[in-house]
């Protein structure tokens, strides 16, 4: 089997058994990047020398028996809003185009301790604001299943890199669906853990109260292993939680007997693509066959989630992004006159349109006279949403829904209508507002040749239940690749002649 078709766990096992080496894995990955990048543009930065040097060092440690973990020697891609010491970290923004952090994010350090080899930094929507990776200042990323479509966002580069075999797994961040939605668009597994599970230290904040780092992986097994590796209780992050139940890989069992799964009726209304709906309901049937109990229920607050989210996220973003002022680091406009002119020009020129829009929106909802009407009200909606989920989890072990209402849209379709783009986050956003864990995994493949993803939402700290159900489903239905579906293969036929 070609190395690139292996999962991260398979590759690590092969390295451990001496069938291949970390260096070979990186070399193949770099070759794949070399070949595929001009098509997909999943990366902002690829550091070949560093990757090869890291691989050699890791290989040595593996041989000495110093690194024995299930991910040791596996090449990884890191979303470009996670700080990497000595390696460009841009948030896909002009304002940080030359920013090299002095320290690495805790999640990155945790992966390095597990023997990960960083090959590069992935493209994203600028400052994670967007759902298509089209707001990047450095060009769009294309969907490896069909390059005319977006990979989703904001972790679109990470999802595309995993799908295209340009890395074995990736880290992303999820503020309103930014891991789960691109995972579903690119046919990979993505997970947003419970808020506080993965340290945010070194994650360049978009909306601090909603941001969580999580894995994008080839299958559920990899997803569990990566989550286990990045999770830690970090004293550098006040919102980091000390958890005892972080042996996520232990949950990789085929067992959903008696598990109660709720499907929100409200999620299957207008606006949902028929094929997506069908694929998700098919998945429900698979889980039912495996012994789960599936029921429909009302979760009627959906309509308020999107406005509440965009109020809170924009408010926090407007403040979080104030530090990008052209004074200490990053882009500074040339030829400005005086301090305030420098601020204005640096920020106007350094930030893209979508970021500027959200900063202005956020500054507005926090301004005196509007704070109560918008920001406080949004916080109240957030509390109500949490309550609605709490009630649901009294009855159900988890909630099943689509990850996104449609398949990946075509390039250029979404940016023209931001409201429509915002509404695309409808199934994922409420999860962030409530701080819940959720996993997105492929559950179908539509006629247009694009994957469809489903989402399983759990109560706080119930990642293991989600992993168990997702693993059971994956074993029963088979991964896309087990069904002979590979984005890279499909690309060959797209660029040649359409197959069907």
């Amino acid at each position: 089997m070609s190395l690139l078709k292996m999962t991260a766990a398979e590759l690590a096992a092969a390295i451990k058994e001496g069938r291949t080496t970390a260096v070979e894995a990186v070399q193949e990955t770099l070759a794949q990047i070399e070949e595929k990048e001009r098509l997909y543009h999943a990366y902002v930065t690829v550091d070949k020398e560093k990757a090869l040097a890291q691989a050699a060092a890791v290989q040595e440690k593996i041989e000495k028996g110093e690194l024995t973990g299930p991910l040791a020697g596996v090449p990884v891609a890191i979303k470009d809003n996670l700080c990497t010491e000595g390696m460009l970290t841009t948030c896909s923004s002009r304002i940080l185009a030359d920013f090299i952090p002095s320290y690495s994010a805790e999640a990155v350090l945790n992966l390095q301790k597990a023997g990960a080899v960083i090959v590069g930094k992935t493209n994203m929507d600028e400052f994670a604001m967007g759902s298509t990776t089209e707001t990047s200042a450095f060009g769009v990323t294309r969907n490896p299943w069909n390059p005319e479509h977006v990979p989703g966002g904001s972790s679109g580069g990470s999802a595309a890199a995993v799908a295209a075999g340009e890395c074995f797994y990736a880290l992303g961040s999820d503020t309103g669906g930014s891991i789960r939605q691109p995972a579903s668009f690119c046919g990979v597994v993505g997970m947003k853990p419970t808020y506080g599970t993965v340290s945010r230290c070194g994650l360049i904040a978009y909306a601090s109260s909603l941001d969580q780092i999580g894995p994008l992986a080839k299958d559920v097994t990899d997803c569990a292993l990566i989550l286990e590796a990045v999770t830690s209780h970090d004293h550098k992050d006040s919102t980091s939680i000390e958890r005892k139940d972080t042996d996520f890989a232990a949950a990789l069992r085929e067992d959903v007997k008696g598990m109660k799964i709720g499907i929100p009726k409200d999620y299957f209304k207008e606006g949902l693509d028929v094929e997506v709906g069908e694929a998700v309901l098919n998945a429900a049937r698979v889980l039912e066959e495996k012994g789960a109990v599936v029921e429909y229920f009302d979760l009627s607050l959906v309509d308020y989630a999107v406005p509440a989210y965009y109020t809170i996220a924009a408010a926090e973003a407007s403040s979080n992004l104030e530090r990008f002022d052209g004074i200490k680091y990053g882009y500074r406009s040339a030829g400005s006159k005086g301090l305030h002119d420098m601020y204005k020009k640096s920020r106007s020129e350094g930030f893209g349109e979508e970021v500027r829009r959200r900063i202005m929106l956020g500054a507005f909802v926090l301004s005196s006279g509007y704070y109560d009407a918008y920001y406080l009200k949004a916080l109240k909606v957030k509390a109500l949403i949490k309550k609605a989920f709490d009630e649901a989890f009294e009855k159900y072990d988890m909630i099943l829904s689509p990850a996104a209402p449609t398949m990946a849209p075509k390039l250029g379709e979404s940016l023209a209508d931001p409201i429509k783009m915002y509404l695309g986050d409808i199934y994922t956003i409420a999860v962030n507002l409530a701080g819940l864990p959720a996993i997105s995994l492929p559950c179908g493949y539509c006629r247009a040749g694009l994957p469809v993803g489903m989402q399983l939402i759990g109560d706080c700290f119930q990642e293991k239940k989600l992993i168990r159900a997702a693993y059971t489903y994956e074993k029963a239905a088979g991964t896309l690749s087990a069904r002979g579906l590979f984005p890279a293969d499909r690309i060959t036929s797209v660029t040649g002649k359409e197959e069907r």
Binding site: T89, F99, Y103, D237, S238, T239, S318, S319, K328, S367
Partner: protein, 477 residues
Amino acid sequence: MAKEYETVIGLEVHVELATKTKIFCGCSTAFGGAPNTQTCPVCTGMPGSLPVLNKKVLVYAVAVGLATNCEITRYCKFDRKNYFYPDNPQNYQISQLYLPICRNGSVTIEAEDGTEKVIGIHEIHMEEDAGKLIHDEWEDCSLVDYNRSGVPLIEIVSKPDMRNAQEVIAYLEKLRMIIQYLGASDCKLQEGSMRADVNLSVREAGKEAFGTRTEMKNLNSFKAITRAIEAEKERQIDLLEAGREVVQETRRWDDVKGESYAMRSKEDAQDYRYFPDPDLVPIVVSDEMLEEIRAGQPEFRTEKMARYREEYGIPDYDIDIITGSKHMADLFEETVVLCKQPKKVSNWLMGETMRLMKEKEMDAQDLRFSPENLAKLIALADSKAINGSVAKEVFEIMFEQDIDPEKYVEEKGLKTVSDEGALRKTIEEVIAANPQSVKDYRNGKEKAVGFLVGQTMKAMKGKADPGMIHQLLKEML
């Protein structure tokens, strides 16, 4: 005929807390380091960095709150105050607006007429200090030093309960005393570890409604505060008398010129867009924590004064001076424990210590000598190993450098010569050399013996007990 006016004053007092590390990171708070050497990603606002509260800041803030009779907010939060300025690396300051840690407190001061007056405290909140901007006119550029960025502050906001400069100074002295007793800050106005902004308005006597107030900044000494209050009161009254209005604004005091000028008016007041900082979790002050802080409160001045009267039997005047500074009180008590002679310790503090402090324009909290060394010095003098003037001479060195007086006396050979034979020999020489004085003495001039004692002391290079010389002289004459 000019109208009678009443001045209404409220104070915003910033106090730098004496924590070893900053409020949201582990960087040192030490004063005077080379620029930007006490910094990290957190206090320079680097992307991805996160604040984590230094618990000691909370403990100090609660302790000050308890000592000023405040209600402690058991569930409190930090908020972000958003404004762009280069001394503020994140372009927001982490402070408290909605749920400050302490509220509704008070302190009692002595008013001008000697009666007690209660000054209300509206709230106390915790916040971070900003960096320091240095404008280099020569190079035409501005530089920023983030060493001070993230140094913990509490802001104590009084109610508008003060009516004149005397009350303001009394209030500040009271706050300073409490905070120094707690060890929460050294409260030095000159170094900026205590900063007071004065909110002042005037109104016609007997009127209920407040006049329009101004806020005065850059007040670096009690003297400057007093002068600024007098000047601002006059300025506002002059405006009103001239039929003009006081503008609500922030003014900056220039102590050299003795006048203030407007910095910004209410119209250009910024909208700080305060909102709860999502990077910091709400603070819950538990019963246990509150109890622990309460139990750890020190003995404050009033209690201390009562105990001193009871225990040490030293004059009220001494007690007043010694307890006026926590450091001096500690020095006193610790020395007494070692030498068991409260009166003698008090004498050293009231006499030589105060004299030297005045001479060197020092604060009591800057006294450097240790109780051990003062106790040793007292013991040396007691045992007559050194005489009084040598003791004073040694003390002066000890005051400066905290030397060990025993060693010093030994090394410099300052010990009194107690060898009678040697003394007698010297006295014989003095008698031989001063026949006139000897004659005077024998003719009944008692005073002449004093001169001879002095001559003997001189010959002994001060290392003798004058009493003993006196006795021997009389005997030998």
